[in-house]
C-alpha cells in the first residue's frame, strides 16, 4: 500500500525478530515511528512480502508484527546506519515493555 520511491543508491538493510510478548501493537508502533522520524533517511519495514513506511504508524500496525515475526528494516539516506542502529535497539529492548 505505502510504496516508497527508492531514489537510486543502495539501501542498507537489517533483519530483526520481534521479541516483546505482544508484538507491534499501538504503543510500540508509536515508539517506532517517533524514533524513525528523528532521521532524514527513508525507512521501510518488510514482513513476508508486505512493505510499509517505517514512518507510518498505521502502516506498521497493518503488518501485524507479532512476537517471533522477522522483519527486514531498510534505510536509505545520509543517516541510514544510525537510523537502523536506533530501530534495531528499540526492537531488541522489546520496546521497553517486558
Amino acid at each position: 500500500m505505502a510504496d516508497e520511491s527508492n531514489s537510486g543508491g543502495a539501501a542498507l538493510t537489517r533483519e530483526v525478530t520481534i521479541q516483546n510478548r505482544f508484538g507491534i501493537h499501538a504503543r510500540p508502533a508509536a515508539l517506532f515511528v517517533k524514533t524513525a522520524n528523528r532521521f532524514q533517511s527513508e525507512i521501510a519495514v518488510e514482513k513476508g512480502g508486505q512493505r510499509v513506511s517505517g514512518k507510518s504508524i498505521i502502516g506498521l500496525m497493518t503488518i501485524e508484527g507479532y512476537q517471533g515475526a522477522s522483519l527486514r528494516l531498510s534505510a536509505h539516506g545520509p543517516d541510514a546506519t544510525e537510523a537502523l542502529d536506533a530501530l534495531e535497539d528499540l526492537v531488541l529492548q522489546k520496546f521497553f515493555e517486558d
Binding site: M1, A26, R27, A30, S53, S56, I58, M61, E64, D98
Partner: protein, 592 residues
C-alpha cells in the same frame, strides 16, 4: 425510517442498558443523526493541485489543534491514560504514508481533496479492520474519526452537530466516539445514551471523568426516541424513561431530594469516621479504576482505597514498569498516610483485552483470567509486582491477588513476589520490605479452604459479585436467570461468615469489596457478620457511612444472627430493609 412508538398517548417507555456514569437527569432528547458520509467528487485541473493541497494543510493544522485541545482538557480531568488515546490520534493524523499517498493521488487522479482524502483513509481503515488482532482492528474507528474531523474542517465546519447544541438536552446517538465524548459541553449536555458501547469503552470512561450521567449498550434507543421527546436518565441503574409518567417523575424527585438531603450532610460526614452509635469503627474505603479516581474517593470521604482495579491501566496499551510505578505512586502519594490495596490485574472474564492476545474462550468467567493468566506468564506478572513494590516506599500499599481458587496459586504468586523483591534489591531500588499481601475471596473453593490460605496472607477481601455468581451458578447479565442472583442467599451468608471467622482465628482482617459493600441495605448485615473493612464505589461511600453512623452494633449482630438462622433470602433481605427503614429512612427512600 421511523419506528419510534407513537407519542400521542404519552405512554411511558422504559429502556434498559448499561449504566456507566451515575446520576439522575431529565430533559429533552437531542437525537444525533449519523454523520453524512457521502463525499462529493469533483474533477480538478493540474493547476488546482497546489490550492487543494493548501486546503489540506490548513485542515491538518486545524485538526491538530482541536485534538491537542481535547487532549489538554482530558488530561486535566482524568490524567495520562486518556491523553494517550489522543497521542495515538495525533500520530495517525501526521502519518507520513497517508500524506504521501494523498499528495501523489491528487496529482494523478485530479479529484478534489475531500474525495482523495476519503479514498485513502478508507483504504487504510479497511486494512486495519480486516486484521486478525481485535485491538488493532478496533483502530479503524480512530482512523475514521480523524478522517471525519479533517473533512469537517475542509468544509469549514469546525465541529460536529454536537457543538451546535444551544439548550440543555440529553444526547441520544447510535454511538459516540471518545473524541466526541471528550468534547461534550457539560453546561449543555445533561446526559447521554447510546445504542453501542460497554462499561470499559473509552467513551464510558470519559463520561465518568466528566461527571455526565450516561447509559450505553441500549441496542436501538436512537431509533426509538424522537428529537424533543422528554427523557429521564438514571445513569446508575442504566435506565432511560421516554415520556416519563408523572408518578415516575415524582418518585425520582423524591430520590433526588433524599440525595440532596444526604449531600447536605456530606460536608459533615466526609470528615467523620464510619463508626456505629455505640463506637464500633470500621474503615470504609473506595474502589477505583484509574489513578485520577482517587480524587473522587477523597471527595466522598473514603478512608483509603480498598480495591484498585489495575486492569484499567491495560485498556489501551501494555504500560511499562515505570509507567505503572508512576500510576501507583500517584495514588500512594495522594492518599498517604491512608492506604491503598492494589489488586493485580484481573484481565480476562468480561475484561477481554484485544492487544494482550487473549484467546477466545467459550466460558471466559471460568477460563484463563486474573491470577491464572498472570501465573502462566511470570515475567509479565513480575513487571506489575515490581511496579507495585516500587510504589510502596510510603508504606501505605498492600497487594491483593484476584481469582484465587487454590492455596497453590497463593504460594506461587508469593514466590514470584519474592523474586520481584530480589530483583529490585539487586537493582538497589527501595520498597516496603513488609508489604502486606492478601487475596480476594470470590470463588467458593477459596472461601471453604480459607484455613489453608490464611497462613500465607495478611488479609482477605470478599469479592461478592463473583462469589454470588460462582456459588449460585448465576450469570447475572443473563436476564433469564438474573432473578436467581441473590446476595442474601443462605449459601452466601454462610460463606461470608466462614471466611470472616477463619480470618479472625488466624489473626487476619477480612474486608468486603464487592457491590454488597456499597449497598446501604446490606451493610448492617455485613457488619453483623463481623466484617472488618468495607470498600465500595466512591459515590456510595457517604450512603454507607450514613447507615453505619445510624446503627448500633447490637442491632447489626442481631441481624447477622437471624440471617444465619434463616433459610430464606427474601426473609433476610426483608429484615435488612426493615432495619434500615427504621434507623435511616432517607437511605431507604434513596435506594428503593
Amino acid at each position: 425510517m421511523d419506528i419510534a412508538p407513537p407519542s400521542t398517548n404519552g405512554d411511558e417507555l422504559e429502556l434498559k442498558g448499561v449504566g456507566v456514569s451515575p446520576g439522575i437527569v431529565s430533559g429533552p432528547a437531542f437525537v444525533l443523526a449519523p454523520e453524512e458520509d457521502a463525499v462529493v467528487v469533483r474533477d480538478i485541473t493540474a493547476a488546482d493541485v497546489p490550492r487543494e493541497l493548501q486546503r489540506y494543510e490548513q485542515a491538518l493544522v486545524a485538526t491538530r489543534q482541536q485534538i491537542r485541545d481535547l487532549q489538554h482538557r482530558m488530561t486535566e480531568s482524568m490524567g495520562k491514560e486518556s491523553a494517550e488515546i489522543f497521542e495515538a490520534h495525533l500520530l495517525m493524523l501526521e502519518d507520513r504514508a497517508i500524506y504521501d499517498e494523498i499528495v501523489r493521488m491528487l496529482g494523478t487522479d485530479l479529484k478534489n481533496i475531500e474525495f482523495v482524502l476519503h479514498e485513502v483513509t478508507d483504504r487504510y481503515a479497511t486494512a486495519l479492520r480486516n486484521l486478525q488482532d481485535e485491538y488493532l482492528s478496533e483502530r479503524a474507528v480512530d482512523v475514521r474519526d480523524i478522517a471525519r474531523r479533517l473533512l469537517r474542517n475542509l468544509a469549514g465546519r469546525s465541529s460536529s452537530a454536537l457543538a451546535e447544541i444551544s439548550t440543555p438536552c440529553i444526547i441520544i446517538a447510535h454511538d459516540l466516539s471518545p473524541t466526541e465524548t471528550a468534547g461534550l459541553n457539560k453546561a449543555k449536555v445533561l446526559g447521554f445514551a447510546t445504542d453501542l458501547g460497554s462499561p470499559t469503552s473509552h467513551t464510558a470512561i470519559m463520561a465518568r471523568a466528566l461527571g455526565i450521567p450516561a447509559v450505553v449498550g441500549m441496542h436501538d434507543i436512537s431509533l426509538r426516541v424522537a428529537a424533543g421527546d422528554p427523557l429521564l436518565v438514571d445513569g446508575q441503574h442504566g435506565l432511560v424513561f421516554v415520556r416519563p409518567a408523572a408518578e415516575r417523575i415524582e418518585r425520582y424527585a423524591r430520590k433526588r431530594r433524599a440525595q440532596s438531603a444526604i449531600r447536605e450532610r456530606f460536608n459533615v460526614l466526609r470528615d467523620q469516621p464510619a463508626m456505629t452509635l455505640d463506637g464500633y469503627h470500621l474503615p470504609l474505603a473506595a474502589n477505583i479504576e484509574l489513578p485520577a479516581d482517587v480524587e473522587v474517593a477523597i471527595a466522598n470521604g473514603a478512608d483509603g482505597v480498598g480495591l484498585f482495579r489495575t486492569e484499567f491501566l491495560f485498556l489501551n496499551n501494555v504500560p511499562t514498569e515505570d509507567e505503572q510505578t508512576e500510576a501507583y505512586l500517584q495514588v500512594a502519594r495522594r492518599l498517604a498516610p491512608a492506604t491503598a490495596i492494589i489488586r493485580t490485574m484481573d484481565i480476562g472474564g468480561d475484561k477481554f483485552i484485544g492487544h494482550l492476545k487473549m484467546p477466545q474462550q467459550v466460558n471466559p468467567f471460568m477460563g484463563w483470567r486474573a491470577i491464572r493468566f498472570c501465573l502462566a506468564q511470570p515475567e509479565f506478572f513480575k513487571v506489575q509486582l515490581r511496579a507495585i513494590l516500587r510504589a510502596s516506599t510510603l508504606k501505605n500499599i498492600k497487594i491483593m491477588y484476584p481469582m484465587i481458587s487454590n492455596v497453590k496459586e497463593v504460594i506461587e504468586a508469593n514466590r514470584l513476589l519474592d523474586e520481584a523483591k530480589n530483583e529490585l534489591a539487586g537493582r538497589g531500588v527501595e520498597f516496603d520490605q513488609d508489604i502486606e499481601v492478601g487475596v480476594m475471596i470470590e470463588i467458593p473453593s477459596a472461601a471453604l479452604t480459607a484455613d489453608l490460605i490464611a497462613p500465607h496472607v495478611r488479609f482477605f477481601s470478599i469479592g461478592t459479585n463473583d462469589l454470588v455468581q460462582y456459588t449460585l451458578a448465576v450469570d447475572r447479565v443473563n436476564e433469564l436467570v438474573s432473578n436467581l442472583y441473590e446476595p442474601t442467599h443462605p449459601a452466601i451468608i454462610k460463606l461470608i461468615k466462614h471466611t470472616i471467622d477463619v480470618g479472625h482465628e488466624f489473626g487476619l482482617w477480612t474486608g468486603v469489596c464487592g457491590e454488597m459493600a456499597g449497598n446501604p441495605l446490606l451493610v448492617p448485615l455485613l457488619v453483623g457478620l463481623g466484617v472488618d473493612e468495607l470498600s465500595c464505589n466512591a459515590p456510595g461511600v457517604p450512603l454507607v457511612k450514613d447507615v453505619i453512623r445510624s446503627l448500633r452494633f447490637a442491632q447489626a449482630e442481631e441481624l447477622g444472627l437471624a440471617a444465619l438462622r434463616s433459610g430464606s433470602a427474601e426473609e433476610v433481605l426483608a429484615n435488612c430493609r426493615a432495619l434500615v427503614g427504621k434507623i435511616a429512612p432517607e437511605i431507604l427512600e434513596l435506594v428503593e
